[in-house]
């Protein structure tokens, strides 16, 4: 039972595969991205399926930012300025991001922010 108390390092798990039980939340679904399509259209089917989930994630991030910035200045900056500043993102990524923003009906700045999130959090 030492596995279940800090520092959680006494027991190595075994027999967990194929995944089942409380640590398994399901399989990731498969999609095809056709690189022969124009970049703006490549993610359409995925985004149509995941529109609500994408909206929910962006809302969680916006709610988190609002705790520190109740006036919403940061979100305003992301929505209005980020598309101008980062319009120089390389092709085909910027075109793909623009397509995703259009299909998800999300401000372009917020989709750009989501796509650079990993870089931002390396501090």
């Amino acid at each position: 039972r030492a596995q279940d108390v800090p520092p959680f390092t006494e027991d190595c798990r075994s027999g967990t595969y194929p995944p089942t039980g409380p640590t398994f939340k399901g399989n990731a679904s498969w999609y095809i991205v056709n690189l022969d399509l124009p970049p703006e259209e490549r993610w359409n089917s995925i985004i149509k399926d995941k529109k609500v989930e994408l909206f929910n994630l962006i809302q969680v991030i916006k709610d988190f930012i609002k705790v520190f910035d109740p006036a919403g200045k940061i979100i305003g900056l992301v929505d209005d300025e980020l598309p101008l500043i980062l319009d120089s993102l390389p092709s085909p990524f910027l075109e793909e991001i623009k397509g995703i923003a259009a299909v998800s009906e999300t401000p372009l700045g917020e989709i750009i922010f989501y796509n650079i999130f990993y870089e931002l959090f390396t501090v």
């Binding site: 995941k50 991030i61 796509n115 931002l120 959090f121």
Partner: protein, 253 residues
């Protein structure tokens, strides 16, 4: 994040990872979990990137995120990326980009370009070693031949270290978390030691996709930040991704 590349006794290479993300980005008291980690799980998708109806590479990512952090080019190489936290971090690169210094590459975009265009393990390695980056990173790269695996420790502008698999010295696996391998991890965030302990217990004779999944299911390698576990076999070109949860009691990172 925790990534493992291992070679079995027959020379087959396995590459697997836990993707951990969302630290300090809001704690959901009701569900006892990180809000962003929880919200990323339903966005996790496996993608088969095709050209002329042929698979170019396979990757697991989040819907709407066009860069890649994990992927397999069937029969050629596998790649994953872990965050490297540093004061000279991604925000510096982003500020440079905003002010017009644009000779660096966004990490997710680089990995996707490598998966799309590199035709060999060596070519992929060169790209990951030499390209200037927006933010520091650890790249784990596995090939399809015995001994072809390495961890590349990157600063934004330079490559700090390349840590290779060394079967002659008995080093049949590499484990990378979010710390330089030549330094000890932070004592409150040591996923490396338990992962290595479990790998040593399994031994090279018994290493396989199921036993690597066991390692990645052991706390604190599995923790509250773990969004998914991805398992890749380069020779077979397979990618399996499982969404994860870490019910209490579980370490928050």
């Amino acid at each position: 994040c925790t990534a493992i590349i291992a070679e079995d006794k027959t020379g087959r290479l396995f590459h697997a990872r836990n993707l951990d993300f969302g630290l300090f980005l809001g704690w959901d008291i009701k569900h006892s979990t990180w809000m962003v980690s929880q919200s990323l799980k339903p966005l996790t998708v496996n993608i088969d990137f095709q050209r002329n109806n042929r698979t170019i590479f396979k990757s697991v990512t989040f819907a709407g995120y066009v860069g890649m952090l994990t992927g397999v080019k069937p029969g050629i190489f596998t790649v994953t990326m872990n965050e490297r936290f540093n004061l000279d971090g991604g925000f510096v690169g982003i500020i440079e980009w905003i002010f017009g210094i644009r000779n660096s590459v966004w990490i997710g975009f680089l990995i996707r370009s490598v998966l799309e265009n590199a035709t060999s393990y060596e070519e992929a390695k060169n790209e990951l070693v030499e390209t200037k980056l927006i933010s520091p990173a650890y790249f784990m790269l596995g090939g399809n031949k015995s001994g072809e695996a390495c961890v590349i420790t990157r600063a934004r502008e330079t490559c700090l270290d390349i840590w290779e698999l060394d079967l002659k010295q008995g080093m049949w696996y590499l484990v990378e978390t979010n710390y330089d391998h030549w330094n000890k991890p932070l004592f409150v965030d040591d996923r490396r030691t338990p992962a290595m302990k479990c790998m040593n217990k399994i031994t090279q004779e018994k290493i396989s996709v199921p036993t690597i999944y066991d390692v990645l299911s052991t706390k604190p390698v599995l923790n509250k930040l773990t969004t998914f576990t991805a398992l890749m076999n380069v020779a077979e070109g397979t990618l399996e991704t499982y969404l994860r949860d870490c019910p209490n009691p579980c370490v928050p990172w």
